[in-house]
Symmetry: C2
DNA sequence: AAAGATTGATCTGTCAATCTTG
DNA sequence: CAAGATTGACAGATCAATCTTT
C-alpha cells in the first residue's frame, strides 16, 4: 500500500492546526474553569455581551456558536439555572425565544476575560512579532469567512 | 460595568481561531464520515500510520492525540472491533499495551486521505497565496510547539 | 508506592421526534 | 406544511476508582 499521502504537506498543516487548537483550548478551558465557565458557556455569554440589547434568538445564537439548537437549549438551561441568562419570548414572533444576558452574566464573562486575554497573549500573540500576528489573523479571517458564512446571523 | 474587554483585539483573534477551526472541522468530519471514520478515530489511525512499526503504546498515543487514557481505550476498542487496530502487549514491560495498525487500518486511513486533502486545499491552503501559507504554517508551528510540548511522545 | 490500562458513573452534545406558532 | 424550540434516547469523552505490573 502506498503511504506517501501520510506525509502530505497539507495534512501536516492540518495536523498543526488541530494540535495548536487543542493545546490552546486546553489552557483556555483550565483558565475559564476558575470562573466556573465551560467553553460553550463562555461562547454564548460573550456573543450575547457583544450584541445590541445583549440578546439573541436561540436559533441565531446556535448558528453563531456552532452548536445544534438542542445543544444550545441545554447550554442556556445551565446558564439560566446560574442566573447568567434569562429567556424571554419574542414579542413579534411568538415561536421565538430570546436569550438575554443578565447583569450577573455580564459580570461573570467580564471577570473571566482578563484571564483569557492573558492566555492568548502568552501562548499566541506574544509568540509572534507584529507582522506575523497580522498575517496570522488575516489568514484566519479568510478561512473563517469561507467556512462560516452564517457566523454573524442576527447581529 | 465596563465592557471594553469584550472587544479586545486578542479576544477577536481567539474568536477567529475558534470559528475557523469549528467550520473547517465540520467539513472534514463530514468528509471522513463517508469513510466511516470519526475525528478521533482518524487521529489515532494516522498517528499509528506515521510511526515506525505502525505501533504506539496507549499512553503515548493518548498524549499525541490529546485525549485522556480512558478516552483512548474507548477509541481503540471501536477501532479494534472494526479490525483496523490490534492490541499486543509490550514484551519489555508487561504493564503496557501497544496499539498496532492492521493492514485494513492502513488501507482505511489512506482511502480517507484524498478527501481530507481536498477539503484542506479548498478551504484553507487554496485560499492563501504562497507566502501567506508559509506564514500561517510557521505561526501554527510556533504555537503548537509552545502549547503541546509532549505532542511527539514515543515517536 | 507509582505507572499503564481499563471500567463504572457521569456529563455534554447530537439526532429524531414532538409541540407550538406562523 | 414550515420554522423555532424543546425533549428523550443515545454516542462520545472525562474523572475517579480499580487491577496488574514495576
Amino acid at each position: 500500500v502506498s503511504d506517501a499521502l501520510l506525509r502530505d504537506e497539507r495534512i501536516t498543516t492540518l495536523g498543526l492546526f488541530v494540535e495548536a487548537y487543542a493545546g490552546l483550548t486546553a489552557l483556555l478551558d483550565a483558565q475559564m474553569a476558575l470562573h466556573g465557565l465551560s467553553h460553550a458557556e463562555f461562547e454564548v455569554l460573550i456573543r450575547l455581551g457583544r450584541t445590541n440589547g445583549r440578546r439573541l434568538r436561540m436559533t441565531d445564537l446556535a448558528k453563531q456558536a456552532a452548536v445544534s439548537t438542542s445543544g444550545l437549549t441545554r447550554v442556556v438551561d445551565r446558564l439560566e439555572a446560574q442566573g447568567l441568562v434569562e429567556r424571554t419570548s419574542c414579542p413579534e414572533d411568538r415561536r421565538g425565544t430570546n436569550a438575554v444576558l443578565t447583569e450577573a452574566g455580564l459580570e461573570r464573562v467580564i471577570a473571566a476575560l482578563p484571564g483569557q486575554v492573558e492566555v492568548v497573549e502568552r501562548w499566541l500573540t506574544g509568540l509572534l512579532d507584529e507582522p506575523e500576528q497580522a498575517a496570522f489573523t488575516r489568514a484566519l479571517r479568510t478561512i473563517r469567512d469561507a467556512v462560516r458564512p452564517d457566523a454573524t446571523s442576527g447581529s
